[in-house]
């Protein structure tokens, strides 16, 4: 019952900030990622471990190599403070982060190169792989679990 309630709350991010902060403080939404970030980084250290999806990651870069390099950098620099939420993407569990790249990473948006600072990251962890389901410039403002607003 409790778990179902949490799931429902996590899926519907419709609450205004004070309510969401209350939900976070009362433990109804996860404040910490589902996957331990250190573990994710350990798995991602192998060159064959990170798998990038084409439609939600690779297409946002001029070449596959640039996409891979950006993914390595992002996973190296990612911190728990950028964690947004855990999503239940049937049947997988994915952690979502709002990654802020300094210096910005060049992305291909609508056929043009753009230096993008804010990135949407969604991944799931398997025993030997990090499946990067989404890695693209942030499309709309997003708030981290700690309450920081990140804008595109």
């Amino acid at each position: 019952m409790g778990a179902n309630r949490t799931t429902r709350i996590q899926k519907r991010r419709i609450f205004p900030l004070p309510v969401r902060l209350y939900l976070v403080q009362s433990g109804r939404v996860a404040r910490t990622p589902h996957f331990n970030l250190t573990e994710v980084k350990d798995v991602a250290a192998s060159p064959d471990a990170i798998l990038l999806s084409k439609t939600r990651a690779r297409v946002f870069f001029a070449t596959p190599r640039l996409a891979a390099e950006a993914a390595i950098r992002m996973l190296r620099e990612l911190t728990e403070s950028a964690f947004v939420e855990t999503k239940f993407q049937n049947p997988d569990i994915c952690d979502v982060y709002a990654y802020q790249a300094t210096p910005p990473i060049t992305a291909m948006v609508a056929g043009a190169e753009m230096a993008c600072r804010a990135w949407y990251v969604k991944f799931t962890l398997l025993p030997e792989h990090v499946l990067l389901v989404s890695f693209h410039p942030l499309e709309q403002p997003i708030r981290t679990a700690r309450g920081k607003k990140v804008t595109p």
């Binding site: 060159p47 471990a49 999806s53 690779r58 001029a62 070449t63 596959p64 190599r65 891979a68 997988d92």
Partner: protein, 143 residues
């Protein structure tokens, strides 16, 4: 690579697929992926998953295809311009290229830049008018 479940659709299995007709965006255009290059692909939704090592390998084969395509496009545009009785050295002069450069491009000895291909495409659309515009532009700068 072990068989993995696709995280995009949650149902399919990711298996290496090598087939003709796949295209990948590379720098300025879509380039055909060689038929024998295996890409881990979901057997249900078709999502392609590449590791870092595979991305680097794909980059290598796409660069070859990209360069070949640039040479082909440049030669095609130069043939159009030649068909319109435009002298190659006149184009080279107006585009600030060294004399004979376009012959090297046509012969495949030099890989043209995408910018040069784009310029040739624009010139070949309406050669006389575009070349006159360019000549007038450079003359104005000189005056």
């Amino acid at each position: 690579m072990k068989k993995l479940r696709c995280a995009q659709c949650g149902k399919g299995t990711i298996r290496p697929v090598a087939s003709p007709g796949r295209r990948e965006w590379y720098k300025t255009m879509e380039v055909e992926v060689p038929a024998d290059f295996a890409i881990p692909t979901c057997d249900r939704c078709g999502e392609e998953w590449l590791s870092v090592r595979q991305s680097q390998a794909l980059d290598g084969v796409l660069e070859t295809g990209y360069t070949a395509e640039l040479v082909r496009l440049a030669s095609q545009q130069l043939a159009k311009l030649a068909g319109a009785a435009v002298e190659q050295k006149r184009i080279e002069h107006l585009l600030g290229l060294s004399q004979g450069y376009l012959s090297h491009v046509k012969a495949g000895r030099h890989a043209p830049s995408p910018m040069l291909v784009a310029e040739l495409v624009l010139l070949a659309k309406d050669p006389e008018r575009r070349l006159k515009e360019l000549e007038a532009f450079w003359k104005r700068r000189a005056a």
